[in-house]
């Protein structure tokens, strides 16, 4: 009796996993992407597709180009004068480097959460409301308040801050600040959320909360997360891309990548020989 239940559970788990890993529509599609910093090549011929409404993690040693590639997806690299991007990146089938693309609209569509929590030195409410204000997403104050609440709830922060929305966002703890930044990013209704080592500055408890939140968010959003922690990549993501020296070495479902990598370099990184 017990046995059958266990088998059933395992079967269901497998079925769910297979469903998750089944080839779904891709939302980001990169082809032959090369990035140069003042002539020095940082990314070499990267081609990869990111699955919609899944969590994809980018791992690799420092300086391997994973953050550079992440920032290509919402064109944050534009801010660096010496940075030059070649190749083709499509988001929802639209080439984001074509001249007709409005970078501002792209960044509303592809949100970003940074390594260090960076709330604006304004109130908690204003932090979340700012993006909606500048994009004119709400018609009146009560709608704005409702959507601020919704975003804070999605970011699992509402219960902690509902009584002090007027207090500065910088007064929260590090973990709360990072969840506030996530609430701020999802408030403008992006389809994709890029996260650049979102938990690297946080303690284990705050990290656990962020990871749980990432799991919850992935039902509605496509999440791409850069992380240094392989355990974190294994915990939160369904797909993993391993970068090394500007190359995409291996890309596949997380389980396979961690248990039976194809490339020796991935093997070495995962077992701690390089990195």
């Amino acid at each position: 009796m017990n046995m059958t239940v266990q088998i059933r559970t395992a079967e269901i788990q497998d079925m769910v996993e297979n469903a998750i890993l089944a080839p779904s529509a891709s939302i980001v599609s990169a082809k032959n992407v090369n990035v140069y910093y003042a002539g020095k090549q940082a990314l070499k011929n990267i081609s990869l597709d990111v699955a919609k409404n899944r969590v994809t993690s980018f791992i690799g040693p420092s300086g391997c180009g994973k953050t550079t590639f992440l920032k290509c997806i919402n064109r944050m690299n534009d801010l660096i004068d010496i940075c030059r991007v070649e190749g083709n990146i499509e988001v929802d089938g639209q080439d984001i480097y074509s001249p007709e693309v409005d970078v501002v609209a792209l960044r509303a569509h592809v949100g970003m959460v940074f390594q260090k929590p960076n709330p604006f030195p304004k109130s908690i409410f204003e932090n979340v409301a700012y993006g909606m204000r500048i994009h004119g997403l709400t018609n009146n104050k009560s709608e704005l308040a409702d959507r601020v609440e919704l975003s804070l709830r999605k970011a699992a922060l509402w219960d902690e801050v509902k009584d002090r929305l007027e207090q500065p966002g910088t007064g929260l703890s590090g973990g709360q600040q990072q969840r506030l930044c996530i609430a701020r990013a999802i408030a403008v209704e992006p389809r994709i959320v890029l996260m650049d080592e979102p938990a690297s500055a946080l303690d284990p408890i705050a990290t656990a909360k962020i990871e749980e939140l990432i799991g919850d968010l992935s039902t509605n959003y496509t999440i791409i997360i850069v992380t240094h922690s392989m355990q974190q990549a294994a915990r939160v993501s369904q797909f993993t891309a391993f970068f090394h020296m500007g190359e995409l070495v291996e890309y596949g479902n997380t389980k396979t990548t961690f248990t039976s990598p194809n490339d020796e370099r991935t093997q070495n990184y995962i077992t701690g020989k390089i990195g």
Binding site: M76, G111, M112, F114, F120, Y130, G131, H135
Partner: protein, 419 residues
């Protein structure tokens, strides 16, 4: 048993001695600097304190009907009335030279203040009143003890006879010092006892207003553009080097520039606060731009990333997030620049703000002078009584400087609290 951290070796003792020597040199340097400062401020304060007091003398004035027509009180010869009243107070004086010396005890302003008194109080015509008048600068200096009697019995420009008259006033309690309101409410004058700083202070206020209105917006917008919109471009570098060099240009060069461009080319009114303000604005601009750029640079790049990351445009990022955070620093830079402009004399000399201005300027186009120029003019005057006026004006200037720097410090500390 040996402890390696107990000072025993000659090497560690030497190092310790060197440290102590360095600390003491630093302390001595600071003590010397403070000593100079205390000496400078102290000596100015001591010299200038006298200017806050003004000697007044009183005597009976006969406002008889013979002299003043009640229908036209303003047409009477008040100078003659003052002189007649003084002669009456000292009836034994007959010699013409002595009479002239007697008249010299009272300021030339006495006849005007008597006229004002009579015109405002016509009911007093026909009566005799004891009235107080401003004493002349020589009496003022002697009575306040600024000059002593020499072996011939003279006190400065007062001769022995005049000293004796002052003593008589003193014995009858008809001479006293009062708070010198005139110093703060009057314009410049040839007579030291009548000179005040209001005209030059107003001129300075108008000039600095123009300076602020022009230099602050141009300065911060230049800084924002250079720092946020064309960073690290070749043109930006060239402009930056030139701005830094401009900040070191001697101020008189800006005066010459103002003279050639604003006065000779554009034909703007000479000696006006408008031109003075423009010249000082040119001089202050590099300071404001440099300070504002530093303030903008100190705003954390993560704030910019955060704003751009939620889809703000660059202009929105700069004006919604970066500028509000940098504003206290920008204001500090502006105030420091303005404080420098407040004390500037040389460029104002070039554009003719060195004139003798009695009237308080009523517009930015009226001829005016500025406080530091007034100090320069008074320091150049031969009358000894201007010495204390000069010091007093310096004190006023220093008070304004301290106030402006205080505002800058308060803004800076507020800025710091927010991070």
């Amino acid at each position: 048993m040996t402890n390696s951290f107990v000072m025993r070796s000659s090497k560690s003792r030497k190092r310790h001695a060197a440290e102590m020597r360095f600390q003491w040199m630093g302390r001595i340097a600071i003590i010397i600097a403070i000593g100079f400062l205390v000496f400078m401020v102290g000596s100015i304060a001591m010299m200038g304190a006298g200017a806050l007091k003004q000697t007044h003398i009183a005597f009976d004035v006969d406002l008889s009907h013979n002299e003043i027509d009640p229908a036209f009180p303003e047409k009477a010869d008040y100078d003659a009335i003052i002189k007649a009243s003084l002669r009456k107070a000292f009836p034994d004086i007959t010699d013409r030279r002595e009479k002239r010396e007697l008249y010299r005890l009272v300021s030339a302003e006495a006849s005007f203040s008597l006229k004002n008194f009579v015109v405002n109080n016509p009911a007093h015509i026909g009566q005799t009143h004891k009235l107080w008048f401003i004493a002349s600068d020589d009496v003022d200096l002697f009575f306040k003890g600024n000059i002593t009697i020499d072996e011939k019995g003279n006190a400065g420009r007062l001769n022995a006879q005049e000293v004796a008259w002052v003593r008589i006033f003193e014995r009858n309690q008809n001479i006293e010092t009062r708070f010198n309101t005139r110093f703060f409410t009057a314009g410049d004058s040839r007579e030291p006892e009548l000179a005040g700083i209001l005209s030059s202070l107003t001129g300075t206020a108008f000039t600095l207003l123009i300076t602020f209105l022009i230099a602050f917006p141009i300065g911060i917008f230049s800084a924002i553009f250079l720092e946020e919109f064309i960073p690290q471009s070749r043109w930006g570098d060239i402009i930056e080097v030139n701005i830094t060099n401009l900040a070191a240009v001697p101020s008189i060069v800006f005066g010459i520039l103002g003279l050639t461009i604003f006065l000779n080319t554009f034909g703007m009114p000479r000696s006006s606060p408008l031109v003075g303000g423009l010249v000082l604005a040119l001089m202050t601009l590099p300071t404001i731009i440099i300070a504002s750029r530093a303030a903008l640079r100190s705003v954390s790049p993560s704030i910019r990333e955060a704003a751009l990351g939620v889809g703000a445009t660059q202009i929105q990022t700069v004006f919604h997030h970066v500028v509000p955070l940098a504003l206290p620093g920008m204001l500090t830079g502006a105030i420091v620049g303005m404080a420098r402009a407040l004390g500037e004399t040389a460029p104002l000399l070039m554009i003719g703000m060195v004139a003798f201005i009695v009237d308080v300027p009523n517009s930015i186009l009226a001829p005016a002078t500025a406080l530091p120029v007034q100090i320069f003019l008074w320091a150049d005057s031969p009358e000894r009584a201007f010495l204390e006026k000069t010091s007093a004006a310096i004190i006023v200037l220093l008070v304004f400087l301290v106030l402006m720097n205080l505002i800058a410090i308060i803004l800076r500390s507020k800025h710091r609290q927010r991070f």
